[in-house]
C-alpha cells in the first residue's frame, strides 16, 4: 500500500547556521527497512524543491530506526538573515510527512493514525 510518511515515521528539525537537520524516525523497527530503502537523500532534496538550495546528506542510525538528513542551504542564509517567517526552520520537518512511500500490507498494523 502507498501511504504518506506521517503514518510511517515521526520527524523533528533543528538549525545550525544555514543548515537544517531533519530527523525521520520510524514508528516501529519493522517499518524502518521501507524507510531506509525509499527515503534517500536525493528524494528528500527533490521533495523540498527550491526550499533546500544546497546538498543533502543522509545518516542512518539503525539502532534508533532513524535517518538524519542534513540539508545545506535550507534556512534562507541563516537564522538571522532569513526572510522566512519560520527562520529557525522548526516547521521544516513537517513537509516531509507528506512524502509517499510503499509499505507491504502485512506491516499495516504498525502504521500510525490510519482511521
Amino acid at each position: 500500500m502507498r501511504v504518506k510518511l506521517q503514518h510511517v515515521a515521526h520527524a523533528r528539525s533543528g538549525d545550525k547556521g544555514n543548515t537544517a537537520n531533519i530527523a525521520v524516525i520510524a514508528y516501529a523497527p519493522e517499518l524502518y527497512p521501507c524507510l531506509k530503502e525509499q527515503l534517500t537523500a536525493e528524494r528528500l532534496k527533490a521533495f523540498y524543491k527550491g526550499a533546500i538550495t544546497g546538498t543533502v546528506e543522509r545518516y542512518a542510525i539503525d539502532r534508533l530506526a532513524a535517518l538524519n538528513f542534513v540539508a545545506h542551504g535550507a534556512l534562507g542564509g541563516g537564522v538571522s538573515r532569513s526572510l522566512c517567517l519560520d527562520n529557525y526552520g522548526k516547521a521544516l520537518s513537517a513537509a516531509i510527512l507528506g512524502f509517499e512511500l510503499d509499505v507491504p500490507d502485512r506491516l499495516k498494523t504498525f502504521l500510525k493514525g490510519m482511521t
Partner: protein, 451 residues
C-alpha cells in the same frame, strides 16, 4: 562519591517558561539545576543593546525572575546551580545573584563567574578562515560586532571544586553545562573521552528542556501526550559511568518515552557519529535506550572520541536590515486578490527603487512557511495574509517595505484587511559566522564572590 546524582533542567532558552524550573527546584530532589538561556545571536544582540542602552546590565533579562523562582528551594535542598545567564557580563550576573541571596537571608554562599570566552578584540588575529564560506575572517573586520568562543565544562568544574554553590557563565557549549556536574561529582578526567561522550550526550538530551519531555512533539492522532499545557522539565539521574535515566517531576504533563528521547537525541545533530563539543566528540550511534518505567527512559552506551585541538568561535557582524509587514484577504477569491496584491507590490518596489538583497512575498496560509516545498496541489485557503519582507543594506531602504504596505490601504484592491502600524517594521540583521581557534590560545578565568 555519590552513587547517583540528580541533574535538572531550568531553562532551554531565554524566553522559556519559569514555573517548571521552580517545580524542578522544589520537587525534583536535585543535586544540580542547570540553565541554558542563549541562542546563536544572544551575545551579539546583547552587545548591540549594551552600546545603545547604558542601563542594560548585559546578562539574561530574566535573571531576577529565574533566580527568585528557584533560589529559596535550591538553598533549602542544597541544590547547586550552573547557568549560562551571564551572557556578556558573568561577573555582573554573579553579583546580582549574590544580592538576591542576601535579600533572601543567605549569607556566605559562594558564587562563581566564568569569563574568558569573549574575544572580540583579538578574534581576527586568533582565527583564519570562515567555516561557512572559506573566506579569511579578516574580511569581516568592517562589520564585526562581537566574537565569542564556545567554552567547555572545565572552568565550571574548577568552580565547583572550589566550592561554588552557584556558577554563572557566558558562552559555554550547552551540553557542557550539564556535563560539568558529572565530571566534578564522579571525578572524570577532562581527557576521559569515553565517560565525557556519555555525559555530554546526556547533556545534549537535557539542554533543550521540555523538548525531551513532550514539548515540540505533540501531533494529535499520531503522537499525543497528556496535558501538553503543563510540561515538566527533564531530570537526569546519572550514575558514575554516565549512564542515566531521564524522567520528570510526577504529576506534570508531557511524556518521557523512546519517541521523545530519539527526537531530541538527533535534534540539531549533523553526523551522529561525530557531534563535536568543546569537551569531546560524541558518537550517538552506539546509544541504547530503554523504557524502564512510566516517563522513565534509561540512556546508556553513548560513546566519545578525543576532543578536537580547536574551539568553535561565533563571529557576529552587522549585515544590514530587514523590513517586513503583512496584510490580509479572506472569503471566496482570497487567493486571486492576494496574487494581484503581490504583483502590485512588485511593481511598486520598482517605482520607488527599492534596493534589496532579497525580497520575499508569501501567502501566509498557503506557502509562507514551506515556500518552494509547498505541494503544487495544496488547497486554496479561506483566509490569506500577504506577508512581505526584504533584506537591505540600509534602514532607509528597509522602511520602504512598510511604506508600500501602507499604500495598500486606500490604493490597494477590494477587501484588503490591514493593520495600522503599531510597531517598528524594520530590524537589524546580525549575521553569525563560525571559525576555529587553537584551544591553547583561550584561557578561561573563574572569579568568586560571597553573598
Amino acid at each position: 562519591m555519590k552513587k547517583v546524582i540528580r541533574i535538572g533542567a531550568g531553562s532551554a532558552w531565554w524566553g522559556d517558561r519559569i514555573e517548571p524550573a521552580a517545580l524542578n527546584a522544589e520537587k525534583g530532589r536535585l543535586d544540580y539545576l542547570c540553565f541554558e538561556t542563549m541562542a546563536e545571536a544572544t551575545i551579539s544582540a546583547a552587545q548591540v543593546r549594551a552600546r545603545r542602552d547604558p542601563t542594560f546590565p548585559g546578562y539574561d533579562t530574566y535573571l531576577d525572575e529565574r533566580m527568585k523562582a528557584v533560589l529559596p528551594a535550591c538553598m533549602r535542598h542544597g541544590t547547586r546551580i550552573v547557568s549560562n545567564q551571564g551572557w556578556i557580563n558573568p561577573d555582573g550576573a554573579a553579583g546580582r545573584i549574590a544580592c538576591w541571596l542576601r535579600t533572601l537571608g543567605h549569607r556566605g554562599v559562594k558564587v562563581a563567574s566564568v569569563n574568558g570566552g569573549l574575544i572580540t578584540d583579538r578574534v581576527l588575529e586568533l582565527t583564519e578562515t570562515i567555516m561557512e564560506t572559506g573566506a579569511p575572517t579578516a574580511t569581516l573586520a568592517p562589520s564585526l560586532i562581537s566574537a565569542e568562543v564556545y567554552l567547555g565544562a572545565e572552568p565550571i568544574v574548577e568552580a565547583l571544586r572550589a566550592g561554588a554553590q552557584i556558577v554563572v557563565t557566558g558562552r559555554v557549549a550547552d551540553p557542557s553545562l550539564f556535563a560539568a556536574p558529572m565530571m566534578h561529582e564522579f571525578g572524570w578526567d577532562a581527557l576521559d573521552h569515553r565517560r565525557l561522550g556519555q555525559g555530554n550526550g546526556i547533556g545534549h538530551l537535557m539542554e533543550c528542556g521540555a523538548q525531551v519531555t513532550g514539548g515540540y512533539f505533540s501531533d494529535p492522532g499520531f503522537k499525543d501526550v497528556p496535558e501538553p499545557w503543563n510540561f515538566g522539565f527533564p531530570i537526569a539521574e546519572v550514575e558514575a559511568d554516565g549512564s542515566a535515566t531521564l524522567s520528570k517531576v510526577e504529576g506534570t504533563g508531557g511524556a518521557v518515552n523512546l519517541m521523545t528521547v530519539k527526537e531530541q537525541l538527533l535534534y540539531e545533530v549533523h553526523d551522529p557519529a561525530n557531534y563535536i563539543t568543546p569537551d569531546v566528540v560524541i558518537d550517538f550511534t552506539t546509544v541504547r535506550l530503554e523504557e524502564v518505567g512510566p516517563d522513565r527512559v534509561r540512556v546508556t552506551g553513548i560513546s566519545g572520541k578525543p576532543r578536537t585541538p580547536t574551539l568553535k568561535v561565533s563571529i557576529s557582524c552587522a549585515e544590514g536590515f530587514i523590513g517586513e509587514d503583512m496584510f490580509f484577504y479572506a472569503g471566496p477569491g482570497a487567493l486571486r486578490r492576494a496574487k494581484l496584491a503581490k504583483r502590485i507590490l512588485e511593481e511598486r518596489f520598482k517605482i520607488v527603487g527599492l534596493q534589496a538583497e532579497e525580497v520575499r512575498i508569501d501567502f501566509l496560509g498557503l506557502n509562507a512557511i514551506h515556500g518552494a516545498a509547498t505541494p503544487a496541489d495544496a488547497p486554496e485557503p479561506y483566509e490569506i495574509a500577504v506577508r512581505v519582507a526584504a533584506r537591505t543594506r540600509t534602514r532607509e531602504e528597509a522602511v520602504k517595505v512598510g511604506r508600500e504596505v501602507d499604500g495598500m490601504a486606500v490604493s490597494g484592491i477590494a477587501h484588503t484587511g490591514k493593520r495600522v502600524p503599531h510597531q517598528d517594521r524594520t530590524r537589524e540583521v546580525i549575521g553569525v559566522w563560525s571559525s576555529l581557534v587553537p584551544r591553547e590560545r583561550i584561557e578561561p578565568r573563574v572569579a568568586y564572590l560571597e553573598s
